[in-house]
Amino acid sequence: MTTHRTIEFTLNGRPVSAQVGNHHNLVEVLQDQGLFGARESCAQGLCGCCTVIVDGKAVSGCLTLAPLIDGADVRTVEEPRGEHGLDAVQQAFIETGAFQCGFCTPGFVLMTRQLLDAHPNPSDDEIRHYLSGNLCRCATYPEVIKAVHLAANKRKTAGKD
């Protein structure tokens, strides 16, 4: 056995291959691929800035060992969505101004999509619980909750994109 290996996985729909150390994490792998939407911030899985969707489930990229994504379907905020490259959730975040600096926004967008897939019409309480692991240092939480409701409505009228 060795401490490094080659992994192959699907990144935003396209197959890629990468040389990784067993001790590297998923955020580092994505950075090597030129993707910087997932950011390692707290490095403890608490803040949600490094959210990545692996095989349909949200994970903290900073807590995911690189070799474990061999063969996985990996999706990040860079994945093109919708007609103009933005989906209902991204549109809703823009329209409600649910960010200031934007550092945490990729994580909030990805987690909101997961939330709405599981609960298409979430209550404020469900939103707060589901997004409790995403921190916004600019404290745009009230706008985030508005954005989630707006995104839920947009999805209902336009159909999920």
Partner: protein, 287 residues
């Protein structure tokens, strides 16, 4: 983090073979969330990690058994949270999971890892102890069963041998026991608790026939509060009884302070939260 080898056995037996070594730098993981934090801070520097993610799927199964539950140690916390069997047999587990860390951690962290990690701030150990749960530990030599309450021997310390893994957790039928878990968090709702307290009560009307009271996050391991249980056993619940139970717990617990509260602060919390936990269990319906 420093480079290490990674083994991905396809069977539990294969994993046990790899772990049958005296080398403390060889460790198994389920979801690798807790271990990642220890590796990132340099507390643990592995030579070889053994991933349990590729072993037989049956070790992640959640099943109802005689009114209780048998849970494979590799079941993720999300799987438990969404399990209809868990909600039916022990809804206190479902309620606890809602504020146990966050969705992303619950998606990968496993029940076995949650227990074997033995950080006293974990949420499910006090709940499982209150429910009277047991676990099966396996090694190449065979398997043994022990009470979850006997698993923990200290801070990050368990009764598991180096070459043993938890394979299953068994939650007995609750037969109408009413249970609750309350925790005090000082930062976010899903933060590591400053204090956790689980109770399971066997009641006959307003009379408490039997009580289990378990404190966590403020002691070096989750602990039953024998004096508080004695106050509640055979008592009819009144504010005075609840106050005495809280006093008893606060007096008997050996509390330790941490970044989320001093021992003195936790003692005050325990006095108040013990009564709250009992009230919540009584208000919470059949389980």
């Amino acid at each position: 983090m420093i480079p290490f080898e990674l083994a991905e056995p396809r069977s539990l037996k294969g994993a046990l073979k790899l772990l049958d070594t005296e080398d403390p730098a060889v460790r198994a993981f389920g979801g690798c969330t807790a271990l990642m934090l220890m590796m990132k801070t340099g507390v643990f520097q592995p030579a070889c990690l053994v991933s349990l993610r590729g072993v037989e799927k049956k070790h992640a199964r959640v099943a109802r058994t005689r009114g209780g539950l048998t849970i494979g140690a590799l079941a993720t916390l999300s799987a438990l949270e969404q399990s209809a069997a868990v909600r039916k047999a022990a809804p206190v587990i479902t309620r606890t999971l809602r504020t146990l860390s966050n969705v992303r951690v619950r998606n990968v962290a496993t029940l076995g890892g949650h227990l074997a990690h033995a950080d006293p701030h974990m949420d499910l150990p006090p709940v499982l102890i209150a429910l009277g749960a047991e676990l099966t530990a396996v090694s190449l030599a065979g398997e043994r069963r022990l009470a979850v309450q006997d698993l923990f021997t200290g801070y990050y310390e368990t009764a598991l041998a180096k070459n043993e893994l938890i394979s299953e957790v068994h939650v007995p039928a609750q037969d109408g026991r009413r249970s609750a878990y309350v925790k005090c968090t000082t930062r976010t709702a899903d933060d590591w608790p400053t204090l956790g307290i689980a109770v399971a009560l066997k009641t006959d009307g307003a009379l408490i026939e039997d009580a289990r009271v378990v404190v966590s996050a403020a002691t070096e391991k989750p602990l039953r509060m024998a004096q508080a249980e004695a106050v509640l056993r055979g008592a009819t619940v009144t504010d005075a009884v609840l106050a005495r139970a809280g006093e008893a717990a606060a007096a008997e617990a050996e509390l330790i302070g941490d970044a989320r509260g001093s021992a003195a602060y936790k003692r005050e919390l325990l006095r108040v939260y013990a009564a709250r936990a009992v009230k919540q269990a009584l208000a919470g319906g059949g389980h």
